[in-house]
């Protein structure tokens, strides 16, 4: 599964995207637990989850959104366009 990062999450982690094997992760929250262990940067980026928004296959979701079969999961700060 493709995991994408935007804005300061991308900067903090130092990656725009990475290929991740979700293993037993069932929800976006499970995926976060898995990602946190990848590096200190990941752990820092996911430190405060109230500042992180989640999209599963380009639809807004949350920590409880199932990721089974998803092609891409994205993490980003609250949006500030317009």
């Amino acid at each position: 599964m493709q995991v994408l990062y935007f804005a300061w999450l991308r900067e903090r982690i130092g990656l725009a995207s990475e290929e991740i094997d979700p293993g037993n992760a069932k929800t976006a929250g499970d995926l976060v637990t898995l990602l946190r262990d990848r590096s200190a940067s990941h752990a820092l980026a996911f430190e405060d989850l109230s500042a992180v928004r989640i999209a599963v296959d380009q639809e807004m979701g949350n920590l409880d959104t199932p990721i089974a079969g998803a092609r891409e999961v994205a993490f980003f700060p609250p949006v500030t366009g317009g």
Binding site: F6, Q58, A74, V79, G81, G82
Partner: protein
């Protein structure tokens, strides 16, 4: 195509002509243009990042929702990405309708939803360095008005 995400600028008069051409029912067009704020003397710029793919889907969904709520004869949304200077256009929303009230409400709804639901992120370059713009609670409040 009613939704565009692009680097280049837009022309509100030209977009209005495209939207209204040949449709004699349209009596009202409301536009919203968002601009980069800032004093050109401090050479601040704005970098706009987005999530390709999801952005277009999210905007199309917002347009669909506006069309379901108001009798609209045309809708157009253009959002720029990349590096923009103070005074430059960021976003254009156009709503065309037979009645002015519908056009006003739809345009404001589109902007309120775009601000809280479309995946764009602004980074401001200030004399003290670059920083990501914080989301504003007033934008969430503005969006919630429509769900009352």
């Amino acid at each position: 195509m009613s939704v565009s995400v692009q680097r280049q600028d837009f022309d509100v008069a030209a977009e209005t002509r495209v939207l209204t051409k040949g449709n004699g029912d349209i009596g009202a067009v409301v536009s919203f243009t968002g601009l980069v704020r800032g004093d050109p003397d401090t050479v601040r710029a704005m970098e706009l990042e987005h999530y390709p793919g999801m952005t277009e889907r999210a905007l199309a969904k917002i347009v669909e929702e506006a069309r379901a709520r108001w009798p609209l004869d045309g809708v157009r949304v253009i959002h720029r990405v990349g590096r923009l200077m103070p005074g430059e256009n960021i976003v254009l929303v156009l709503a065309a309708s037979r009645h002015r009230r519908a056009a006003f409400e739809a345009a404001e709804f589109l902007m309120d939803y775009l601000k809280t639901k479309a995946p764009f992120w602004k980074r401001e370059e200030t004399p003290e360095g670059a920083q990501w713009v914080d989301a504003r609670e007033t934008d969430d409040d503005a969006m919630r008005r429509w769900t009352k």
